[in-house]
Symmetry: C2
Subunit: 283 residues, 2 copies
């Protein structure tokens, strides 16, 4: 592997660039981004060695696509058109079904691996890139059997070298489960932030009363709307289902309080406490 | 100050014990707790020097009450009955209106200071105590003018020595605002945990897919039901109001997705993003 092209040099793309450089000294890392300022910043920060254009893609050994999932739908087929027969392309998007469908019949489908490394922070842009972001993180691979053997191997070696744990799953199952363990958390956090900001808009110093508990539950409300809007669009059906169940649980809890059934309120919380054990496995 | 009695030697009481001992070398710290195992553990961990009973309270200079808010309503008047004229008692409860009302006409009302240090973790019991927990944390004091001058001074000096920032507020306003910035976060977190556990109960390994975002938003679902149930009971009206506004915001967001109004979905998130700036002040 000599030439890597990162398409979208933000938090995730930039973090891949940092780790790849550190693991494989001989690599040259190229960046493509529609945001020229981000590209300049990525060069300045040492994330990429050089800027590139689509014309360069046929010289790439590996292409990492780390752009919002709506842009991936549009750009992925064009990237497959432009690469060589020996190039492996993987994406990192938080939805997988539409993305897999978008290249289902592409003549270079076997050059693509659909991936979702469960890693990130609430920040974005090249300056948010951090070394070691993927260490011990889960990476969900979808439709691995649609990717050519030797290209699977290249991508999987990279994932392993960067410290990821690999899980295989079909795109439909990925999108359904990720709605629960990721997409719903983001909405609950955004709406919690909205509820409190609306209420306290004339009393900003009320946030002096907020502690680390509030900070933890609204952390995700700092996330990028440009990244999350297309995720909710592509995963609409699953996201609506999770929201309906979440709202119904909140309504139920509210009604227990209204009816002074505090034994039931206690039980609701106690039976959720075992999330402790479940979370122990999460880094 | 020579003798301090901690009533309730859990996370908060134990953390007070640790810091008080470290700041004031000459102190002897006594513990009272209905849980004998916790008392033994507190002695073993070096949180308290000795176990005590109510009979000892008239020798106390300072009494810290760190028990669930329903127990505080019951026990606080009995403690005031038992202390000397020169003892200062403060509580640390997450509700303030009912607690202040419960001793409104007590002959020793002036020996009590109503306090709420906004500090803690999702853990509980003596082993959860940590040194320095209150450093740079906000402590809301209610009805300060109801406490005797010289006793105010003792408590405020302790708070200052432990590194807290003091804010004064009336109990009604405290309970209303804390419902938004603390109580609602706990419910949103518990119900998020419940929603995901219910859905994934037959597929426990799905939690492999959960990342730090999920961990952050459900962290508070590890909290103690014995502590939180009486808080929701005492702050029922405010908690129900916050829940209704939160549910209505979630419904609205869901409907925007349903109606494919993704410009509005984007705007909802973008206008909440400035929570970043607000949170900068929170430790």
């Amino acid at each position: 592997m000599k030439n890597v092209v990162i398409v979208g040099i933000g938090l995730i793309g930039g973090s891949f660039a940092l780790d790849l450089k550190q693991k494989y000294a001989a690599l040259t890392i190229y960046g493509i981004d529609k945001n020229e300022q981000h590209l300049d910043e990525a060069v300045r920060l040492g994330l990429i060695d050089e800027k590139a254009t689509f014309e360069f893609l046929d010289k790439a050994d590996l292409v990492v696509m780390a752009i919002p999932v709506d842009a991936t739908l549009e750009i992925l087929p064009l990237i497959l058109d432009a690469i060589s027969d020996d190039t492996i392309v993987f994406d990192v998007g938080s939805t997988k079904e539409d993305i897999c469908l978008s290249v289902k019949d592409h003549p270079k489908r076997r050059n693509f691996l659909a991936a979702h490394p469960i890693a990130g922070t609430e920040f974005s842009g090249p300056s948010a890139a951090v070394a070691g972001l993927f260490q011990n993180k889960t990476n969900i691979i979808c439709e691995v059997e649609e990717t050519a053997f030797k290209l699977q191997e290249i991508a999987l070696t990279v994932f392993k070298d960067l410290g990821m744990r690999i899980r295989y799953m079909n795109p439909k199952a990925h999108d359904k489960h990720i709605a629960y363990v990721s997409h719903l958390s983001h909405i609950s956090s955004f709406m919690l932030g909205k509820t409190v900001i609306e209420k306290e808009k004339n009393e900003r110093d009320i946030f002096d009363m907020a502690g680390s508990g509030f900070e933890s539950t609204v952390r995700l409300a700092k996330s990028s709307p440009a990244m999350w809007t297309p995720i909710f669009r592509q995963n609409k059906t699953n996201v609506i289902e999770t929201l309906e169940e979440y709202i119904s649980n909140l309504e139920h809890f509210k009604n227990l309080i209204k009816e002074n059934d505090f034994d039931a309120v206690f039980n609701e919380m106690e039976s959720t406490n075992h999330i402790k054990k479940i979370l122990k496995g999460i880094q």
